[in-house]
């Protein structure tokens, strides 16, 4: 791999021990994957934030680092709401460790913004063909696919290395030739709302780590594509997809690709099967959650409308970023009037808060894929409307 004189100096240790190790990580990854150089990045998102995932080992490593990030850097969701953790019954010992982790990141100049939707935040605007080093799988999918930016699937240390150096090795999804679709998926019926999460749940299992090109009857909104991509990155390992006539790269005349050799069809019955348990009134969920990935303003508005004049009869948690919640304090107030809780900085998957429940209703294909294995609960998939009905007891 070619390194500039400046980068060589950093690798020799002239810029300190932390930066020497950080650039060593980037160079090793570049060598492993055949990168020819390091390229500047616009922003970074560091995964491995929840104490539930990284434990004491991760905390120790982050605490030992010195320096400051060179690009705007955001964190993955943490294991709890950082301001209001008692409300969901988080163990104070867990909370103390989680606070230590966020403080350790803070010493590196990383703002305590813990979200899987950095693209909603001020200062994290993503433009077509921007190079990023992001680490949360749904955010990677959204930035690559819906925004046409370029990021690999970064692990915690590699995203942090990229943030501190301000660069990432140029390989994988940073290169146009690696972004060509290699699986056509045909969806020959109308789809809307939570159908996209269900579709993603099915498609991810079939696609693995391929790059799907969807041919759809309907044109999804950005929030719907967020749900589609999040589910495919959870049930499979899809980091980039295209939708014919919709996503920016596939509409770009300069983007050259051949029709994928492999083509599959997903039919309506497969989507309906994902909803199956929500249609059985004898299957009761004792908790309902929405906000995987974190809710946008439009999604908060929808929930405020659906909950108007209603009262919840069981735990109903709605996850979003702190910034989105603060910018939409009126909507949060309307939602919480029903007894539902708007929770920031975390989610149902990375927090231990839901572990004591038995069955969770979700409207997210990603949560549907992860909740059983990560939290030990059964999961039911329903529309946002169905989730509100379950929570308010008017099924």
């Amino acid at each position: 791999m070619y390194l500039t004189k400046e980068e060589e100096k950093t690798l020799r240790g002239d810029d300190g021990e932390t930066l020497r190790k950080m650039i060593e990580i980037l160079v090793a990854l570049g060598d492993i994957y055949g990168a020819d150089a390091l390229i500047p990045i616009k922003s970074a998102q560091v995964s491995g934030v929840s104490y539930k995932t990284i434990g004491d080992a991760g905390l120790e490593w982050i605490s030992d680092l010195k320096g400051a990030v060179k690009v705007p850097t955001v964190l993955n969701p943490a294991g709890m709401d950082m301001n209001n953790w008692e409300r969901l019954g988080i163990d104070p010992k867990f909370a103390a460790k989680q606070i230590e982790i966020i403080q350790a990141f803070g010493r590196l100049g990383i703002e305590p913004k813990c979200t899987c939707t950095p693209y909603y935040l001020n200062g994290f605007d993503v433009m077509y063909k921007d190079h990023l080093a992001w680490g949360e799988s749904s955010a990677i999918s959204f930035s690559n696919s819906v925004l046409g930016a370029r990021t690999n699937r970064e692990g915690g240390p590699s995203a942090l290395a990229a943030a501190l150096v301000g660069k990432t090795p140029d390989y994988g999804y940073h290169k146009a030739e690696n972004r060509t679709p290699n699986l056509e998926i045909r969806v020959g019926f109308e789809t809307g709302g939570s159908d996209y999460g269900a579709l993603g749940y099915i498609a991810g299992k079939l696609a693995g780590n391929k790059i799907p090109l969807f041919k759809m009857n309907s044109v999804p909104e950005k929030d719907e594509m967020k749900m589609l991509g999040a589910a495919m990155a959870a049930s499979g390992a899809v980091a980039l997809y295209h939708i014919d006539g919709v996503t920016p790269e596939i509409k770009d005349k300069e983007f050259v690709y051949e029709k994928p050799a492999e083509s599959i069809v997903i039919d309506r019955k497969e989507i309906e099967a994902v909803y199956e348990t929500s249609g059985d009134p004898s299957i009761i969920s004792d908790i309902v959650t929405i906000g995987c990935p974190h809710c946008s303003k439009a999604e908060l508005q929808q929930l405020a409308d659906l909950l108007e004049g209603k009262t919840v009869v069981k735990e109903f948690w709605i996850f979003t970023s702190r910034e989105t919640a603060e910018q939409n304090a009126d909507l949060v107030k309307l939602i919480e009037k029903s007894g539902a809780k708007v929770v920031c900085d975390t989610c149902m998957v990375v927090s231990p808060a839901a572990n004591s429940f038995k069955r969770m209703m979700v409207n997210s294909g990603k949560a549907y894929a992860y909740v059983p294995s990560m939290c030990g609960l059964a999961a039911t998939y329903g529309t946002a409307e169905r989730c509100v009905k379950e929570a308010t007891g008017v099924v």
Partner: protein, 133 residues
């Protein structure tokens, strides 16, 4: 004395006795981070300690948290002295770099043909070779 060239992954130099396995290693789950003992009963090295060894394995697998487990092993004084992989993947590569464990891969000669358990080996990943002592 015999030198074999390889690809530098984590710079450094250390020697120790070879501990080999043909099974990939998931540091999260396979190894006790306090002691360095392999705790997965299905692993070829079950019950053995990787502490202070020149650990030879094909590559890592499993969760990316494995990088942090390698760091924890180092902090606990239970890490291998050096690592030789057939062809490494990012979890172990990153773990070795952040823990300052000399690591090398893609040797010119297949390590499984020339090394055996208990051999004294120097891993010089500052210059990019191993030497059978």
């Amino acid at each position: 004395m015999r030198q074999i060239k390889g690809r530098i992954i984590a710079r450094g130099s250390a020697s120790g006795k070879v501990l080999m396995t043909k099974d990939p290693i998931s540091f999260l789950g396979n190894i006790n981070p306090e002691t360095g003992v392999v705790v997965d009963p299905d692993h070829e090295l079950f019950g053995k300690s990787i502490k202070g060894a020149v650990l030879v394995f094909p590559q890592g697998k499993g969760s990316t948290v494995g990088s942090y487990v390698i760091y924890q092993l180092k902090k606990n004084g239970a890490a291998p002295a050096a690592i030789i992989n057939s062809e490494c993947e990012p979890i172990v590569a990153v773990g070795a770099i952040i823990s300052e464990i000399p690591m090398i891969d893609k040797l010119d000669i297949n390590p499984y043909d020339v090394l055996k358990d208990g051999d004294d080996v120097l891993v010089n990943s500052a210059e990019g070779f191993i030497e059978i002592l």
